[in-house]
Amino acid sequence: MATPTTAEAAAPQGPAVQADLTDLIRVAVPDRGLRQDLRAASIVWRRELIRFRADRLRMITSLVQPVLFLFVLGTGLGALAGHSLPPGVSFKTFIYPGIVAMGVLFTAIFSAGSIVWDREFGFLREMLVAPVNRGAIVLGKCLGGTTVATFQGIIVLALAGLADVPYNPVLIITLIGELLLLSFTLTAFGVMMAARIKQFQAFMALTQMLVMPLFFLSGALYPLNGLPAWLTVLTRIDPLTYIVAPMRRAVFSHLNISPAAVHALAPGVSWFGWTVPLGLSLGIVALMGVVMAGIAIVEFNKTE
């Protein structure tokens, strides 16, 4: 943001500036173009970061739930589930990838929800009346949510040691990459919802209602194999499944256990016995994100 240097840079010019300012009145605002759209997207993105940085409380509160799940639920259920896990693998480790995903879940949706908030408080109007491509605004918003949510996910990643997950650089980079993808798709989902929903309360109620089922059906807390048919179908529909499975795969392949155990614990998603390849799994998530962001752009273009 404008540092004092920018302000001072203008000051020493004194009278010259005064004279120039009259000219400045005729600042020619450029026509719409790619550069202009990128600049618009960038400022929308930066605003998201500024708002996030100012909101330390949110940073802390959105950590509560993952920590609760990982340590309280993880430890409690661990005593029960421990029998079916190979020696040296704790239940906490098993649910850890899912919990990291959970860390970004709320932040991403909440970040997208700020559109509804902006609408209620008028700021959305400032964005929508600007002579820029609406797509640039939606994109900036999606990328803002992605950045903020990924950052939140990285904080949960920092707790890896407490869940007996090694701090392996390759693992961490892989997980961050997957978090970015997940955050983008979740934000796009939130922005798509925000295009339609006009009240913040309604948005929060609706997304909360959707977020928990998404999480519980993703296989974050249990293995995807050997489930009853109805649950198998539901887990395969949940887009979150397709990111939790690769994340679990990444975590388990960096543990000191046999390949057979890795395969047993993190087999990946299967469709009627066919294992969905990693690339396809991630591709599904990315595609959903792109489609939802596209719908959001169409929706925002419709509004005046």
């Binding site: 009145i25 020619a28 618009a40 500024i50 009346v129 600007a130 820029v132």
Partner: protein, 351 residues
């Protein structure tokens, strides 16, 4: 000065530092509206209006809530599409040339559109990037507009800590940041206390002196309409009168002059003999009506033999004007139609 930008327009005339403006045609009026209508279902909010706003003019749209002011301003700002008719703003059609119009206008809405969790500076920077103000121009222009509204010292404060009047001033500054040709102010002083209202007007009048700009505003405060060069009175979606405040008032009636003299009886007699004016004693003062009080007073001093101690000229107010054109006072109309129309405006006009 970085006035020229990379993304030069094809077709539309672009401006250099001292160049003319971005009007498509140098001689065209700032705003020209012809046969404009807007329907919302059964409701005809604007029923075929025509008017022109000259460049550099402060033009006021006066009328009660729900008269069609907000709908008209929304059409001019490209936020609402008209049902029929045309509107040209800065020489560009508001329907077919929406982006060009938007680049050439500044908007200050009735409701705040600031991000109150950002600082004033951050809000302006956001606006500058969104409107593509050339980067080198942002800092000096930002300083200029902030100084204009007296908020330069508070630029690093969160807008949330601003008073209502300060927020409105910041919005005006922001509306001016990209150097629009026309500034639209929708009820710029609504919801502010009288003192703040008058300070906002001071800034707007000051702005007129400094910037080569056309101002289009709506108001339902009669006293504020006096700040305008010309006024259109709108009622039930139609323009019932359009002229300067003075002419409108003159069309309504005469000025009331009250004088106190050394000898009131002689004064009354002389007024009758020399000017053919019928005067009477009211509230202990010689009271009479003339067409143009201000012009009459010097003659009075020159030609009346009786020493004059004091003079007061009361002109018809715009309240009287509104009353004479619509048969109602603005307050009468507010109670009946405001709620229905406001609900409608919220459904259609916002966003």
């Amino acid at each position: 000065m970085a006035v020229q930008t990379g993304a030069e327009a094809e077709g539309s005339a672009r401006t250099g530092p001292a160049g003319p403006s971005q009007f498509s045609d140098a001689g065209s009026p700032a705003i020209s509206v012809s046969k404009l209508t807007k329907r919302y279902g059964d409701l005809e909010a604007v029923r075929g209006i025509d008017f022109e706003v000259r460049r550099g003019e402060t033009f006021g749209f006066l009328g009660p809530n729900g008269a069609g002011k907000s709908t008209t301003i929304s059409i001019l700002c490209t936020l609402v599409k008209p049902t029929s008719g045309t509107a040209m703003v800065a020489g560009h059609n508001v329907v077919t040339d929406r982006d060009t119009v938007r680049r050439n206008i500044g908007l200050v809405f009735q409701d705040t559109t600031l991000d109150t969790y950002l600082t004033a500076e951050q809000n302006l920077r956001f606006h500058a990037d969104l409107y593509g103000v050339p980067k080198s121009a942002v800092a000096p222009r930002m300083r200029q507009v902030l100084e204009m509204v007296g908020l330069w010292d508070r630029r690093e404060s969160l807008v949330r800590t601003y008073s209502g009047g300060m927020q409105r001033r910041l919005e005006i500054a922001r509306g001016l940041l990209h150097a629009p040709h026309i500034l639209f102010l929708d009820e710029p002083t609504v919801g502010l206390d009288p003192q703040t209202r008058s300070s906002i007007w001071r800034y707007i009048n000051d702005l007129k002196q400094r910037e080569d700009i056309t101002i289009f505003l709506t108001t339902h405060y009669m006293d504020e309409a006096e700040h305008c060069d010309r006024i259109a009175i709108i009622d039930h979606g139609l323009i019932v009168a359009i002229d300067t405040p003075e002419a409108l008032k003159a069309s309504v009636g005469k000025d009331r002059v009250q004088i106190s003299t050394a000898d009131d009886q002689i004064a009354i007699r002389e007024l009758a003999e020399r000017f053919g004016i019928e005067a009477a004693l009211h509230e202990g003062l010689v009271t009479f009506s003339v067409e143009s009080g201000e012009e009459f007073v010097p003659r009075l001093f020159a030609e009346l033999d009786v020493p004059i101690r004091s003079v007061s000229v009361a002109r018809p107010s715009l309240d009287d004007v509104f009353m004479s054109y619509t048969g109602r006072t603005i307050r009468d109309t507010e109670a009946s139609s405001a709620d229905a129309m406001r609900a409608m405006a919220q459904r259609f006009g916002r966003r």
